[in-house]
């Protein structure tokens, strides 16, 4: 039973399209995150939600909009996709923010987004 699951695993789409990535966690955690792994392999935080409230919003184009219908779900919607959005996007959750001792972040398997 997967703790943090995100769908789809692979997403290939054309420039200009709008797409969504879904994430669900069954760990009962209060905090969820979206990370982007860019071409240089760094994992960079995009957003963080705590109990459905946005607490971190890094410098991300406003074409990216997170939505948290409840604390177990954090979806990522991307408008007007661009070539530079191609990356692997990881969802994660932790009991508290930031992750501390015994409350480390758990990650989903990633969504590889390819914009053509």
């Amino acid at each position: 039973d997967t703790a943090v699951s995100q769908t789809p695993k692979y997403l290939v789409t054309q420039m200009g399209n709008d797409k969504s990535i879904k994430c669900e966690q069954n760990l009962g955690h209060d905090t969820m995150y979206w990370y982007k792994q860019d071409s240089k392999k760094f994992l960079k935080i995009m957003f963080s939600y705590n109990n459905k409230e946005l607490i971190i919003n890094e410098t991300v184009p406003n074409r990216f909009s997170p939505k948290s219908p409840d604390k177990a779900h954090l979806n990522l919607h991307i408008n007007s996709l661009e070539l530079g959005d191609s990356a692997v996007y990881f969802c994660a959750s932790s009991q508290e923010a930031p992750p501390r001792r015994n409350t480390e972040a758990f990650f989903g398997q990633g969504t590889r987004l390819t914009v053509v």
Binding site: K40, L43, S48, A97, F106, G110
Partner: protein, 116 residues
Amino acid sequence: DQQVKQNSPSLSVQEGRISILNCDYTNSMFDYFLWYKKYPAEGPTFLISISSIKDKNEDGRFTVFLNKSAKHLSLHIVPSQPGDSAVYFCAASESAGGTSYGKLTFGQGTILTVHP
């Protein structure tokens, strides 16, 4: 501006030998450090962590050392096993009040290959 850096993109060791993965950071507000392991097509999984009040934490074959004055930490794996072959990410989180509070800041990872 990368606050966490892993300057070795890859490391190759023989089975049974020690693997030493290094990580440097620049933000003096970081007070909790973690190592994550990532297999291909999977999300990162938590491996071991250390608080800034300690200089060493050991868990089985894995030991993390922290040198606060040098802003350097390292992960030792001994003995190394072929199943340890993966990408290892160093991550750090910040105490309350800092600009990076509430998130994990990751390095770019080191690919470890353990040869039988």
